[in-house]
């Protein structure tokens, strides 16, 4: 078995609009090691979300393939949970019911205790506490703030113990302060749970703050333009001159003068 958790091999994808084929993703190849945090940054509308949807198994590529643990990706699965900008916390379920959603089919006909650690409700409540939602288990999403909703979504993903987290602009709908707070929360959780993370963002600072490696995508049809290693240990200080220099180098790669 290779240590490549995710292997993306010469991926291409086009959309057909008004009878003309528009290439969106062009010849993208890269791999992500187990436990690695890789960020993909690129301009808005460059096709990063399409790339993410293909890797997570929601869309089919026109050419190329995606291997997860060496086996071809055939569709979405519990092994890799997507957390997106708009969120998908079910508004008709309480926080606890949302967290238990991914566990619904596991314990049917079994005794409430199983070897993966406690009843579904215990597991849900454990992760609710981990993301700071203790006391809100019975609340409905519309009673929560935007930041708390993100925590629900994160916890709902963590409960099913996925090996991969796919994060598509996860915190971009939050205000700057909450964005920063959620990044710190995520890093704290990752230190405990060790997931492989693929983050898609247009926020270079967010990528520099969290990732081990950053890939810069070009405009449509998108391909990898440059790759940067992020050698800084956590916790990172964003005001550190070395961190700032890397951030500016990446922004330069994106064509933004600082």
């Amino acid at each position: 078995m290779s240590d490549k958790k995710i292997a993306v091999e010469v991926l291409s994808k086009s959309f057909v609009r008004n009878r003309t084929s528009m290439p969106v993703v062009d010849n993208v190849s890269f791999s992500v090691a187990s436990g690695e945090f890789v960020a993909i940054v690129g301009p808005s509308g460059c096709g990063k979300s399409t790339l993410m949807n293909i890797i997570a198994g929601f869309e089919r590529p026109d050419a190329g393939r995606v291997l997860i643990d060496g086996t071809p990706q055939t569709g979405p699965s519990k092994n890799g949970i997507v957390i997106s900008q708009y969120g998908s916390v079910f508004p008709w379920l309480t926080v606890r019911e949302n967290l238990m959603f991914g566990l619904e089919d596991e314990n049917r006909g079994q005794t409430p205790k199983n070897k993966t650690g406690g009843s579904p409700q215990d597991r849900a409540d454990h992760y609710a506490a981990m993301v700071g939602l203790k006391g809100f288990e019975k609340s409905y999403p519309h009673e929560l703030s935007g930041g708390m909703l993100k925590r629900v979504e994160l916890a709902r993903a963590l409960v099913v113990k996925p090996e991969i987290l796919y994060m598509d602009e996860p915190f971009s709908a939050l205000d700057a302060l909450m964005n920063l707070r959620m990044r710190n929360e995520l890093l704290r959780i990752l230190a405990e749970e060790r997931h492989t993370v693929l983050l898609i963002t247009h926020d270079v600072e967010e990528a520099v703050h969290m990732a081990n490696r950053i890939m810069v995508l070009g405009p449509r049809p998108t391909s990898i333009q440059a790759t940067f290693e992020v050698p800084f240990a956590h916790p990172r200080k964003l005001s550190d001159p070395a961190v700032q220099a890397l951030r500016e180098e990446i922004l330069g790669e994106l064509g933004v003068e600082t």
């Binding site: 997570a56 929601f58 569709g75 979405p76 699965s77 519990k78 890799g80 949970i81 997507v82 997106s84 708009y86 969120g87 998908s88 079910f90 508004p91 008709w92 379920l93 019911e97 959603f101 991914g102 619904e104 089919d105 409905y140 999403p141 519309h142 099913v160």
Partner: protein, 252 residues
């Protein structure tokens, strides 16, 4: 106190309307159109001999059975049509064509098929309320946001869980809208259906009062009661909107 302040304008309209009605009847010295007082005393007569509650009970029973049947048929059918594209393409044109036919137009056929008993109005109520509820349920399924279906697919849940936890709760607010429309139409139709050939119900009460000696006081009394019960039925449906699991649709 605040409630009183809010209700005051509406109350004023009612009082003004009753005053104009009363004055008009007195001034024109109408021999046949009743004054508000005559309507109240007429209604009181019916309360005392118990026939009013028999008529109300008969109408409510027909609506209950007809509407209940429509709910039982419309919800599964609407879910199925919403979820399975083939079912939608097959059945939607037929329902869209049947829907604009007024239930009143079905009365001759209803009498032919079911006679003049309770079954005819029940059939008509069923017809009137089943289509709006099917349509609303289908719309509900078609407007479930993709991100929720993707999330369900991501967690790899079974079909049972998908329907129980995602599809049905997502559609529920639309279903309640459909039920409000359905019950509203059902109440309109029961009165019309009972006017044709029955011996009980509020619709019958109206026609019988007119035929049996021009008792227009009872005609007006029955009309007002129909309005009040219609309002109460809608209020009952609106209570469903208060359910915690559908409130998300109505807040924000």
């Amino acid at each position: 106190m605040r409630f009183l302040k809010q209700a005051a304008p509406a109350l004023a309209v009612f009082i003004a309307l009753i005053a104009i009605w009363w004055a008009t009847v007195v001034i024109t010295e109408s021999a046949i159109f009743p004054t508000p007082l005559q309507v109240v005393t007429g209604a009181w007569e019916l309360v005392q001999d118990g026939t009013l509650f028999e008529h109300i009970g008969a109408s409510l029973m027909r609506v209950g059975v007809g509407f209940g049947l429509a709910v039982v048929i419309a919800l599964p059918l609407g879910l199925w049509m919403g979820w399975v594209r083939g079912a939608y393409l097959t059945l939607n044109p037929l329902f869209q064509m049947l829907r604009p036919i007024s239930p009143i137009a079905w009365i001759p056929i209803a009498i032919l098929w079911f006679g003049v008993g309770d079954l005819s109005p029940i059939f008509l109520i069923f017809l009137s309320s089943v289509f709006p509820m099917i349509v609303q349920t289908v719309v509900g399924v078609h407007t479930i946001e993709r991100r929720y279906l993707w999330a369900a697919a991501n967690f790899g849940v079974s079909r049972t869980t998908l329907f129980r936890r995602v599809v049905i709760p997502a559609v529920l607010p639309q279903v309640i809208v459909g039920m409000r429309i359905g019950l509203g139409v059902a109440w309109l139709v029961v009165v019309a259906a009972e006017m044709i050939a029955l011996r009980s119900g509020l619709g019958y009460l109206i026609m019988d009062s007119r035929n049996a000696g021009n008792r227009y006081d009872l005609v007006v009394a029955a009309m007002i009661i129909i309005g009040i019960i219609g309002l109460m039925l809608d209020g009952l449906m609106r209570l469903l909107e208060q359910l915690k699991s559908v409130r998300w649709r109505y807040v924000r």
